[in-house]
């Protein structure tokens, strides 16, 4: 079982709830899901959709073509119809039938032009009805349902309620048409609206009425419900990082609201009571919304100096503002974590869309030279574990750590396994022992380059953005400068030596391969999911997912690359930044690049088809799938 569903409609019209209802229903039926939320930088009115993939094995990507399309408006139909496979299912409110596909104010004029051309080419009239006929002629089951009539006549709903339950209606209808039992849908409704009894009741009535109406149209076998014995998590990346941070001992989170990072801070704020199995409170983090990102990094550094595990979460524009703070943290060996969720840039860019275009920036940001760690997660479970690792790395080596993620990880929802215990290492602490007349030296030179750390309040110490001596006081002496500078820089080498291989890179697929897909971030999911179909072309393919970007594990990566006949870089930016990094650090040139910078995530089918094209001789492929 591997089905792809798209539910679309105007933002503010309930797409979020519709999508989560579908996701939860499918999860409760025992399936694994991966759902991609796409939306505009807008509060109400512009198009948004949820692309949900449900399968009986874990998946880390979405795939085209779409099997089922649920549309709350004509814009969704016009935008997504070309993604639906022949023989698929399309559901919408029959009241839309006479509506125009092109005279839609919220639809971008460029998209309108493209749609008009497409409709003309396929000889479809510009109405929903015309489109419906066309799809029917291609073998697709088109099911226009009189939702508004149903809700007003059968349930006697007044208008506001009809509008508000349209999303539940569509979702219930399309799930039923997929073969999902009403019971599963009702259970999901109960969970989703568990805190508002009236709303839950209302939606249950809707589900009953719609499922009853739709059942005569169902052509599929019922979806078998698998009882899952093990507990799982259903999370977006923002959620799993929040959980990881809290498990990892984070007790101060600062943030300035920015998409797609802010949800993580809301999660932490809501989960401020960490309880043990007896219900006792064993931890309580503090979350501070700052006046800007400069304040966010400064407050996080302040907290870290005071001995609290501190972090801030942001995206590209915010990280730009943090560059000076990062440099201060590097100079003062501060264990602070910056969680960076990349989004479409440059500048304001595509605030709600995906990219992997800040890789080089995070490695080189901040003036001057200093040691830092950049760790990139490829999926939600990794993101949780890496959140803990970032805090550990930060305190162990007393360096700023950038936990690098992307909008794909941040916003996509997926099922993942549960982790309950993580390793915590607080690094070298000052033991408080001072000889007669000796004073505490925060930046004491030691054999391993790491100074024993006291927290503010434990000893008297100095920190300074200026170059400093062991005490932390300003010092411009050239020999002290040499020594202190080297002390900081040498940490990178030490980190590289001591980091476990699994933090450097992961190989997915066969150990022996002909061709190697080089990738990172959420794109890894699409590449790994595509291994099966790529393997059918007759060559052995594996995926190398790079995780530690700084210090870059050059020799470790080189080993993998040199085993391959062909290396194909797949990532969501224009330059092929990982490939550029490989050239810089390994001295190896990766010519084949599959690049996507539309702001939508790379899909499984795109990796598979690109691989085929590369084998046929193409070198640089630009992807543009997905609306």
């Amino acid at each position: 079982m591997d089905v792809n569903v798209v539910i679309g409609g105007p933002q503010g019209g309930g797409i979020e709830t519709a999508g989560m209802l579908a996701v939860r229903t499918l999860v409760m039926a025992g399936l694994e899901v991966f759902g991609d939320r796409e939306y505009h930088s807008n509060i109400k009115g512009k198009h948004s959709y949820f692309h949900i993939r449900a399968a009986d094995r874990p998946v880390g990507s979405i795939r085209y073509p779409v099997d089922v399309l649920g549309a709350l408006d004509a814009e969704t139909l016009g935008t997504h119809f070309h993604e639906v496979k022949d023989g698929g299912v399309v559901v919408y409110d029959s009241a839309l039938s006479s509506k125009s596909l092109t005279r839609i104010p919220s639809l971008d004029p460029i998209r309108v032009e493209r749609l008009k051309e497409d409709l003309l080419e396929r000889k479809i009239g510009e109405t929903v009805e015309a489109l419906s006929q066309y799809l029917g002629s291609r073998g697709t089951q088109v099911v226009p349902i009189p939702f508004s009539k149903l809700l007003s006549e059968v349930l006697k709903f007044p208008n506001p309620l009809i509008a508000r339950t349209m999303n539940t209606s569509i979702t219930a209808a399309l799930l039923t048409l997929m073969g999902v039992q009403q019971e599963a849908i009702s259970k999901a409704v109960g969970f989703l609206f568990r805190e508002k009894e009236e709303v839950a009741e209302l939606n249950l009535k809707v589900v009953e009425a719609v499922c009853d109406f739709v059942k005569s149209y169902v052509k599929r076998e019922p979806v078998a419900v698998r009882r899952r014995t093990e507990r799982r998590l259903l999370v977006a990346g923002n959620d799993s990082v929040a959980i990881g941070k809290l498990m990892g001992g984070l007790r101060l989170q600062t943030y300035y609201p920015i998409t797609p990072a802010a949800d993580e801070s809301f999660d932490i704020e809501e989960n401020f009571e960490l309880r043990d199995s007896a219900g006792n409170i064993i931890g309580n983090p503090v979350v501070v919304q700052t006046e800007d990102e400069i304040s966010a990094i400064a407050m996080a550094i302040g907290g870290a100096l005071a001995g609290t595990r501190s972090a801030t979460s942001t995206s590209g524009p915010g990280f730009s503002l943090m560059a000076e703070g990062l440099s201060w943290a590097g100079n003062n060996e501060v264990p602070v974590v910056i969680t960076h969720y990349q989004r479409g840039g440059p500048s304001t860019g595509l605030p709600t869309r995906h990219s992997q275009s800040d890789l080089l920036f995070t490695i080189f940001a901040g003036h001057g030279e200093f040691a830092r760690i950049v760790l990139a997660s490829g999926d939600h479970r990794e993101a949780m574990a890496d959140a803990v690792k970032s805090l550990n790395y930060a305190e162990r080596y007393q360096v700023p750590v950038i936990h690098l993620l992307d909008k794909g990880v941040a916003n996509c929802v997926t099922t993942t396994t549960l982790e309950e215990r993580f390793e915590i290492t607080r690094g070298k602490r000052f033991d408080g022992v001072l000889k007669e007349g000796e004073v505490y030296r925060r930046f004491r030179f030691t054999d391993d380059g790491i100074s024993p750390r006291a927290f503010l309040g434990e000893e008297t110490m100095w920190y300074s953005g200026d170059e400093h001596n062991e005490l932390g006081n300003i010092c411009e002496d050239p020999l002290n400068r040499n020594r202190m500078y080297a002390k900081r820089m040498e940490k990178s080498r030490r980190i590289m030596e001591e980091a476990p291989d699994e933090d450097k890179a992961l190989l997915h697929g066969p150990e022996r391969y002909d061709d190697l897909i080089l990738t990172w971030g959420i794109t890894k999911g699409a590449a790994v999911d595509a291994l099966e179909s790529m393997g059918r072309l007759g060559r052995r393919v594996a995926v190398l997912q790079v995780r530690m970007m700084e210090p870059f594990p050059g020799s470790y990566i080189s080993k993998f690359l040199s085993e391959a006949a062909q290396v194909i870089d797949v990532e969501a930016n224009y330059l092929g930044q990982l490939a550029e990094l490989v050239r810089l650090r390994c001295g190896m040139v990766v010519r084949n690049r599959v690049l996507k910078y539309t702001g939508r995530i790379v899909t499984e089918d795109e990796v598979a088809s690109s691989y085929e094209r590369i084998l046929k001789g193409e070198e640089r492929i630009v992807l543009w799938g997905g609306e």
Binding site: M28, R228, R231, R232, L233, L234, I243, L246, M247, G249, R251, L252, T254, N271, L274, R275, D276, S277, G279, I282, G283, N284, V286, V288, E291, D292, I294, S295, A296, A298, M299, I301, G302, G303, L305, A306, G307, T308, S310, V388, L418, E420, R421, E423, I424, T425, R426, F455, L456, G457, E459, T460, M461, W462, Y463, S464, G465, D466, G472, I474
Partner: protein, 301 residues
């Protein structure tokens, strides 16, 4: 302890006659007279001549970024509210590049005292006009008289929500020391504007200028009597600040506002007893036994 015991021994490299020496003296005298616990004191400073002060004081110093000493200080205070956190910065640092944070501190009202070393110029970068330099005034380094209007830190502080505002003069050690002590004793966000002579760049503010252009407050009650009294007091302060001579002394004190720490405690009942810095976060190298069900139940299926 004597004020000398609050000297770190690092050579203060300010110019002879710099008002920072006066502030440095009064600060150490205040810390000594109040019998502060040295380890508790954290001086956070910005960039500039005034920003160097933590290195010369024998107390923990965080010499932070230009304009950003306030958020550094706020983060430190939130993590460990038991620390006595004091901010030192120049007028350019705190009221120019750092103005956003200066205002934000007032909105939050944490127990942090800000000392503004006000010399009308950016000393360390060669004397450019700062946000407190009056229009039409031409200090040594300016090619033309200043064409910008100055800000009044007392009024901005008051509008932002500071609960303690005062002004003093760097070379009146006794007066400044008492004002600092009052500021350190006040619970909430405080700002002291300190008129700081700068012999290298500011040829206008000297002893004569101070004598003619400042006035020590006498018979003025800065304390807000009740919550209803607040508006009236603020209006009186505005009148005070509109006078020709700059008023020296404690200008405004409001004890009716909750501190940021109080407010955090009201939404997070465990904050006072278990602020972030005091929380245990690991159990013999392993994460705490946080129950997934009881804590993160909403994410579980």
């Amino acid at each position: 302890m004597s004020s000398f015991e609050w000297s770190s021994g690092v050579w203060p490299d300010w110019c002879q006659g710099c008002g920072n020496f006066g502030i440095f003296t009064a600060l150490r005298m205040a810390l000594a007279e109040m019998g502060m616990d040295r380890k508790r004191v954290v001086l956070v400073s910005g960039i500039g001549c005034s920003g160097k002060i933590p290195h010369f004081v024998k107390a923990t110093g965080v010499h932070a970024l230009h304009g950003r000493s306030i958020p550094f200080a706020t983060g430190i205070k939130i993590a460990n509210p038991n620390l006595k956190v004091v901010v030192h910065g120049g007028d350019g640092d705190l009221l120019g590049i750092g103005m956003g944070h200066f205002v934000a501190l007032g909105r939050r009202n944490p127990d942090i005292l800000v000392m503004i070393h006000n010399n009308w110029v950016y000393g360390l970068t060669k004397g450019q006009a700062s946000p407190t330099l009056g229009r039409g005034i031409r200090t040594k380094a300016l090619a033309f008289p200043n064409i910008n209007d100055p800000v009044n830190p007392i009024l901005i502080g008051m509008a932002s929500g500071y609960t303690f505002l005062a002004r003093s003069y760097a070379y009146n050690a006794e007066h400044l020391k008492e004002v600092i002590k009052a500021g350190l004793s006040h619970r909430g966000a405080g700002a002291i504007e300190i008129i700081q002579p700068c012999p290298t760049w500011n040829n206008i503010v000297n002893m004569e200028w101070v004598a003619q252009n400042t006035q020590y407050l006498s018979g003025w009650d800065p304390v807000v009597a009740s919550e209803d009294d607040l508006l009236k007091k603020m209006q009186e302060v505005m009148r005070l600040e509109s006078m020709d001579k700059k008023q020296l002394g404690i200008i405004f004190e409001n004890r009716f506002k909750e501190t940021f720490e109080d407010r955090l405690a009201s939404i997070n009942g465990y904050y006072k007893d278990n602020p972030p810095a005091r929380q245990r976060i690991e159990d013999e190298g392993s994460s705490l036994p946080v129950s997934m069900d009881k804590t993160f139940g909403r994410y579980m299926v």
